[in-house]
């Protein structure tokens, strides 16, 4: 199962980011989410959703071998990570995230909390 995106449905409310950070870090802080929302205004008036597609480009980019797929889902091993952020640069979807409170970057673990809460169904389960 993967999480699908339908950007034309996204209202930019960021509830997905709130629930992501609460679920993973127990913090009310959309800046600590593993999903990105970016507005394009005033023209053409739409939101872009950045979310891991499991494409594996980051696995190839990581010089430490810290990124791998576990049960089909990309994981970053914080023991091996040296915070070089090569994965962030390599991601074609801007879907690996950082925050000044953490050294290790973070990425979607497909927990589905965002799918459950998304008020406009812009996020959905895709097999």
């Amino acid at each position: 199962m993967k999480i699908g995106r339908e950007e034309s449905r996204c209202s930019g409310c960021r509830t997905c980011q709130l629930v992501c950070a609460l679920h993973h870090f127990k913090e009310n802080n959309p800046k600590k989410a593993a999903i990105g929302i970016r507005g394009e205004f005033p023209e053409p008036g739409r939101y872009r959703i950045s979310l891991c597609t499991q494409c594996e480009k980051c696995i190839d980019a990581c010089p430490e071998g810290a990124i791998s797929k576990v049960d089909g889902i990309i994981r970053i091993n914080s023991e091996k990570c040296t915070y070089c952020l090569a994965c962030v640069d390599a991601c074609p979807f801007d879907a690996i995230f950082t925050h000044s409170d953490f050294k290790v970057p973070f990425i979607c673990d497909v927990c589905g909390e965002c799918v459950e809460i998304c008020p406009t169904k812009a996020l959905y389960w895709k097999s």
């Binding site: 034309s8 209202s11 409310c13 913090e27 802080n29 600590k32 205004f41 739409r46 809460i117 008020p119």
Partner: protein, 612 residues
């Protein structure tokens, strides 16, 4: 530090180029909660009585509440406030979007701006780094253009509030714009920023907002979201937003039409939410954490115009559509765009334009005043021209920029009868000659004739559309409930439209802050705030009293000519009867001033001491 808050108050003194911050006082939190409460308390205690709203000592405030920016439905609301340049009394405007979450994540509950910058500037807040930047290159530019330029230079993730040319030109119906189409529209607060040479406020925060009980909050918030998602009206609301009100308002004859002469616009189906969705809407646009995303982002194109705009909201459709008799949603959307870009409140703007058109019809103003434009109801060119003239203070626009009350008093002694305002603030989008509780709501709203503190049309449908009985108590109840949302820093729509009970918000407040307040405690604070805003009017407006709560004479002199409320009028003696009951239930004198006993009951005895 109490959880749920940013923790600090940010102060910017532009004259002294001084930026400071202080911890948000715990007693301020416990007695006034946030947003609206913080604003009135700050104004009452810090602003010298009689301060000119457009002078350097005047204050402009943006404030968040304890629920702003938190995981619960529609927590993206902030209040802006100051002494109103339009009314001279308490000025406050509510706005949705993403700014309040960002401000709290930067560590601030409120920004208080005073003084005057020697040259145009914008304020940048990035966590603890707060600075003033030169805005000379932005001065004169539209609100939407300015926001785009600032995002391009600072970063897309900055949340920005701007003024347009109207604010710069001290137009007294100037608004503050945010998030490409959301406005703190009412009471002319954009002019305060203009008077201080502040073009924009840009905020980016990175910190987590502390929560007292995270698991408890998640539990309550999920329940609240679920109530929204499972409400039968959820889909309707998401598809059409406030536009769904247009058809209903016409069917009950409450749609302001041709300067509130009628309550029914014959072309209303052209302005309905369904038409709007079909003709102009591009996407749904939500405020922070919003369950419903009532915002509609639109693209309007016709003849020689082509523009992107958020809206029109119901209020804009009512005030520019019905009230100026524009029967094409594309024209209404384009007028909305012009108001947004120039930085004009669409409610006051629509009202003043309709007033000007009626004056033109009556020969009170002529082509000599309008720079050759023949003003007509139903003519988009008249509306577009007047928006620009007001924002740039050209021709009669210079006078209209002072607001309907001042314009009426200046141009004709009888024009005040059809200047549709109370306390100097133009009435928003509900014709109320056959909606007495709504009329009383407009009369007694604490910023002037606005529907936010109390909206009571459905109560009128149930309790009688022509009788003054059983109206005052409901209006008071609403005036304590609805502004509570503006104090907590959340949107009231999940409550009023999706049935999320106030008790859920009270529970969320406890989970977030750890302060053990009941729903009743919150209402008590709301009443305290309401009485303090009233005392601000008493202090600031010489001779303030009962006559300031009266609507324009059109309400009791001019019968509604057509539509479902045809023949409707609300007599003066019934108006006085409603006011008598309202004052008595509030514990105010017959002149509408809170009694010593009432102030003491609310813990406001210090107001008496300070006024002695």
């Amino acid at each position: 530090m109490i959880p749920g808050y940013g923790g600090k108050i940010l102060r910017v003194n532009l004259s002294e180029n001084k930026i400071t911050s202080e911890p948000t006082p715990e007693n301020l939190i416990r007695e006034y909660l946030g947003a609206r409460g913080f604003i009135i308390h700050t104004l009452y205690t810090e602003l010298a009585p009689g301060t000119d709203p457009l002078s350097p000592p005047a204050k402009f405030i943006i404030a968040t509440g304890p629920l702003s920016g938190i995981f619960l439905p529609s927590s993206g609301k902030f209040q802006s406030g100051g002494k109103s340049p339009l009314t001279g009394g308490y000025g406050e405007a509510n706005c949705g979007g993403h700014l309040p979450a960002e401000l709290k994540m930067a560590g601030y509950d409120m920004i208080v701006i005073e003084g005057k910058s020697p040259k145009p500037c914008y304020i940048v807040v990035e966590d603890d780094d707060v600075r003033l930047e030169d805005a000379s290159a932005l001065w004169g530019k539209g609100s939407l253009t300015t926001e785009k330029l600032l995002k391009d230079s600072l970063g897309e993730d900055f949340q920005i509030a701007t003024i347009g040319p109207a604010g710069e030109n001290l137009v007294k119906i100037a608004c503050i714009s945010h998030d490409f189409g959301r406005q703190a529209g009412r009471t002319g607060l954009g002019a305060i920023l203009g008077s201080k040479n502040v073009k924009a406020i840009c905020v980016r925060g990175s910190k987590s907002i502390p929560i007292h009980d995270v698991e408890g909050l998640i539990r309550v918030a999920r329940r609240m979201y679920e109530k929204c998602f499972t409400n039968p009206a959820f889909e309707l609301w998401q598809n059409y937003g406030t536009g769904s009100v247009t058809v209903w308002a016409n069917r009950i004859g409450a749609f302001p039409t041709r300067n509130f002469r009628s309550g029914y616009f014959e072309l209303f189906t052209n302005l309905s939410g369904i038409t709007m969705r079909k003709e102009v809407v591009v996407i749904n646009k939500g405020c922070f954490a919003c369950a419903m995303c009532c915002g509609k982002y639109s693209h309007t194109k016709k003849g020689d115009y082509d523009a992107y705009v958020e809206g029109p909201e119901y209020e804009t459709t009512a005030m520019i559509g019905g009230n100026c008799a524009l029967g094409d949603i594309r024209d209404v959307a384009y007028a909305n765009y012009l108001c947004d870009e120039y930085g004009i409140d669409t409610i006051s703007g629509g009202s003043i334009i309709a007033f000007a058109i009626e004056c033109f019809e009556r020969g009170i103003i002529t082509e000599k005043d309008t720079g050759g434009v023949k003003l007509k109801f139903g003519d988009p060119a008249s509306v577009f021209a007047l928006i620009k003239k007001i924002a740039l203070r050209e021709d009669v626009g210079d006078l209209l920029a002072e607001g309907t009350r001042k314009a009426a008093e200046t141009i004709d002694k009888d024009a005040i009868k059809f200047a549709m305002q109370v306390k100097g603030l133009e009435q928003s989008g509900y014709e109320s000659r056959r909606a007495p509780a709504m009329l009383l709501s407009y009369m007694t709203s604490d910023i002037g004739a606005h529907h936010r503190p109390s909206w009571a049309v459905t109560h009128d449908l149930v309790t009688g559309r022509d009788t003054p009985e059983n109206k005052a108590a409901k209006v008071i109840e609403l005036q304590h409930t609805r502004p509570l949302f503006d104090t907590l820093g959340v949107c009231r729509l999940p409550w009023i439209e999706m049935g999320v009970p106030v008790s859920d918000y009270a529970e969320a407040f406890r989970m977030i802050t750890g302060i053990d307040y009941s729903e009743e405690d919150l209402y008590h604070i709301s009443e305290r705030i309401w009485n303090l805003t009233r005392m601000f009017w008493v202090r600031e407006v010489p001779g303030f009293g009962r006559q300031y709560d009266l609507p324009p004479a059109r309400v009791w002199e001019d019968e509604i000519p057509d539509g479902p409320t045809k023949g409707g009028i609300f007599e003066r003696d019934k108006i006085e009867a409603m006011l008598d009951e309202y004052y008595e239930l509030r514990g105010w004198t017959k002149d509408g001033v809170p009694t010593e006993e009432k102030l003491k009951e609310l813990g406001l005895e210090w107001v008496l001491e300070s006024s002695r």
